[in-house]
Symmetry: D3
Subunit: 69 residues, 6 copies
Amino acid sequence: MPYVNIRVTNEGVTPEQKLELIKGSTELLVRVLNKDPATTFVIIDEVETDNWGVGYENITTRRQKEKQR
Amino acid sequence: MPYVNIRVTNEGVTPEQKLELIKGSTELLVRVLNKDPATTFVIIDEVETDNWGVGYENITTRRQKEKQR
Amino acid sequence: MPYVNIRVTNEGVTPEQKLELIKGSTELLVRVLNKDPATTFVIIDEVETDNWGVGYENITTRRQKEKQR
Amino acid sequence: MPYVNIRVTNEGVTPEQKLELIKGSTELLVRVLNKDPATTFVIIDEVETDNWGVGYENITTRRQKEKQR
Amino acid sequence: MPYVNIRVTNEGVTPEQKLELIKGSTELLVRVLNKDPATTFVIIDEVETDNWGVGYENITTRRQKEKQR
Amino acid sequence: MPYVNIRVTNEGVTPEQKLELIKGSTELLVRVLNKDPATTFVIIDEVETDNWGVGYENITTRRQKEKQR
């Protein structure tokens, strides 16, 4: 009966990629802990880059710096 | 001082239904644990059906299958 | 397919009270949004009073003040 | 390696204010627990006022009452 | 910079199994979204079976029913 | 009416340090967004080092490597 919450930045994740995350997480719980996939929830939260910070800066700024390199 | 987080799929929940969830959760905490409603928080998260998975599939696909029955 | 997370302070909640919270939350989701109880998750987190703050103080201190009144 | 999740109502928080929350939270973890800012995550969730409840009502209603005073 | 939170019931998950969940989740995010493993967090929460409900009952009761079959 | 959730590894955080986190987070929300401290919640979760992963390994292993340097 696991619950998996994946939070990533909102930078163009496609429905196909989301489905891969759902399938992969579910397989992992089935393989490692023998959980029932029918009651394994996976929820993906997409977070705006202005709303995610690390190292005192937001991801919007970090992405701009990466491009300038 | 409870915090209640309700996560549901984003499938047309109305403001009236949200208010019922808020009232009902608060009443539950007051009734069962004698909590103060003035400091009982209820937060509802609406999750896109592409972003919620169960049984190796997303809810978008599950809803399509349900309609085809 | 809702997910309900109830966070309360760890102050002697009994298994019977937890079950009431589980039943009540599930009934609420069934009644208001017609959700399937078989895939309605309720998770209760009990948080130490030192780890929960409001109004610049922790709940440990708040409870002591309430007793002194 | 801390993770900080700040949930506020969606009422016009500016990118500059979000950055102040990110910087302030990170500084707090560095100062109090000597954490490494490079692995300190801060995620801000903005919640619609219809989706946040306290005291049996949603914040939409509460804000209207505050204006009428 | 993903954040993965896995919530499972507290039923004897070993450190080795936890490590497999950490590795598997990280590999999934690297493979599907090309994320940097150095900033991919995985947090596992173990929840008491009295505190996890589904279908109006807690997991403690569900496990007892499963044994009686 | 903000909700702040701080997750750190369980490595001997003292009640005094927790209180500093509570006060500092609350002050931050008051200063940046003019929030009411009386309805600003701060919850600290302490996570076992076996249950927190980054870079394919858990924090237990990471701390051992740091000591060996």
